[in-house]
Amino acid sequence: MSEHYLPGAQVPDARGYFGAYGGRFIPEALVAAVEQVAEEYEKAKNDPAFAAELDILLKDYTGRPSPLTDVHRFSAEAGGARVLLKREDLNHTGSHKINNVLGQALLTRRMGKTRIIAETGAGQHGVATATACALFGFDCTIYMGEVDTQRQALNVARMRMLGAEVVPVTSGSRTLKDAINEAFRDWVANVDSTHYLFGTVAGPHPFPMMVRDFHRVIGVEARQQVLDRTGKLPDAVVACVGGGSNAMGIFHEFIPDAGVRLIGCEAAGEGAETPKHAATLTKGDPGVLHGSRTYVLQDEDGQTIESHSISAGLDYPGVGPEHAWLKDTGRAEYRPVTDAQAMEALRLLSRTEGIIPAIESAHALAGALELGRELGPEATILVSLSGRGDKDMHTAAEYFGLYDAEGTN
């Protein structure tokens, strides 16, 4: 294993590069704002008062540490391998997204800004952001692709309940990528008052590093919990990857543990061999999207190809640059998981454990089922259960035919 994975190794470099990936590809109008975020984050990182305030929020508001759950009946379906779920679904607001949002909300206050904008796909980052804005008293505007406002209508209502303005984005593919485009347009026009609370480990430096750092708590807690529970490290850590924030959060602490396999599950939609997927690391090529160099689903002219996934949160044609680096170096593996595999895993966890996962997280569960069957009963697999499935009930009900024949819509 490369010396880069030694404990304490510093990535990214000063220019925000993880190997060949990352950097800062932004218009001049945003340079000052992004530099301000980077500078303020460096100061905050070294300020014990910042860490103390964040710790209190994570404990008393979010409900950390999140539990680690042994899922025995589900494990029986995974080749008998012991499956442990890191329960980010039990965080306040229902997903891991709140970890990063609270960190950046504190940062926003330090920068003296009063308005926050964010993109959202499934609505989990939007809900977490709207929540923090209510808590801190910030104005809040959330950009969400029109397609996603329809398939995640419950989360749109939650955001509005929390006082946020939700703007349906009708350009391009009307999904997450276009919501990010629109949020960047807003930021360019309102940068003096506004912080763009980016929701994943993508975007220009320092966002991939900073968002990862705010989610590191997932892996830090889980690694100790697994050690305490089983007396050893897990054989593999599995997480879903859209932009890749929950995966980076749970992977990061394990990177120096060379014996622990890190496996990211990408959304393969109707199949990675079909045109309808979002398997960026499996099928994409290096390019620049949304401010950083990373893998991108693109054509031979560098135009972004529309992604497809039943999961709004994974429906993204880019991916965080640190994942691109982990892929190229071989430290992490990335596997495609189809809509059908994810939905089957969603049903299975619901029926065997009484836990309804988000469709995003169900991609990781499907990966764990496959991996458990490969590794057998001696293996221990840690899975990031990044969010809960309440928001997905409409999609699941339609998929599985759970509505009564009439009068349910």
Partner: protein, 269 residues
């Protein structure tokens, strides 16, 4: 720095005691051939320099008007080779007029930096404006551009601090593009006061001409900007003329007429 077609034309405008007029239209809009006719109309109407846009799937710096045009061009199947053909045909028809390409970075990156510079130069292009390629990430491009005699125009913004302006202008050539309002492309009712300040601060760092883009759409605004800038850049207003026209010929006529009005604006004393 050697004179280029671009610096020569801007110097000639300055010698006439006026600002230059720089017009923008995306290639492939409404069709590839229609786009070529429209860019030619910019020049026939009086633009001194033209920018040919490379339509992109994710135009994060553009407002609704240019997004719509890019969308139409991409749905029509425009490719990089069509953009290069647009440059070649316009440059052949108007040998004295510098033809720049304005593009987001990823298409160039994907096409190949050196290959794009070579093919653009071979098509008769004068240089590139790369609005999402900051100076820090631009070394490879600038090297390729310099090898092929292409100018690289960098963008500055009202939020650029003075030390930053110095870094940016030192890396660029041809002229400096002052994007003088904070926001995406699109026409605006008022010129605003950020522009003049930005031009003054930019001039303090460079001898390059400073041209201003901020949503100018009529001769009065062009005259107002021309009073303090070396060039006036107009894009969305031209695109809107084409969007409004039912027939291509009406659109190109409207583009030609607007270029004429703006050319009069930049010559007012």
């Amino acid at each position: 720095m050697a004179d280029t077609k671009l610096t020569t034309v801007l110097a000639a405008a300055k010698a006439e005691g006026r600002a230059a007029l720089i017009g923008y239209l995306p290639a492939g809009f409404p069709t590839v051939d229609g786009g070529i006719a429209a860019v030619n109309a910019l020049i026939e109407g009086g633009c001194d320099v033209v920018e040919v846009g490379l339509p992109h799937s994710d135009p994060v710096l553009d407002g609704a008007v240019i997004q719509t045009a890019d969308d139409i061009a991409l749905r029509g199947g425009v490719k990089i080779k069509d953009v290069l053909r647009t440059v070649a045909e316009v440059a052949a028809a108007h040998p004295a007029v510098p033809v720049l390409v304005m593009t987001y970075w990823n298409p160039v990156d994907r096409y190949g930096t050196a290959r794009f510079a070579a093919d653009l130069a071979a098509a008769g292009g004068a240089g590139c404006i790369l609005p999402d390629l900051p100076v820090e990430e631009s070394e490879e491009w600038r090297k390729a551009a310099a090898e092929h005699g292409l100018d690289t125009v960098f963008v500055v913004a009202p939020s650029s601090k003075d030390h930053r302006l110095a870094e940016v202008t030192a890396a660029g050539s041809g002229f400096v593009y002052a994007a003088a309002v904070m926001g995406v492309t699109g026409t605006r009712a008022a010129v605003g006061n950020l522009a003049e300040d930005l031009v003054a601060r930019t001039r303090a760092t460079t001898a390059l001409p400073v041209c201003v883009g901020l949503g100018v759409s009529n001769a009065d605004q062009a005259a107002e900007v021309a009073a303090f800038a070396d060039g006036v850049i107009v894009g969305s207003a031209f695109v809107q003329r084409l969007l409004d026209a039912e027939q291509l010929a009406d659109g190109t006529a409207a583009v030609r007429a607007l270029a004429g009005e703006l050319a009069e604006g930049v010559r007012r004393r």
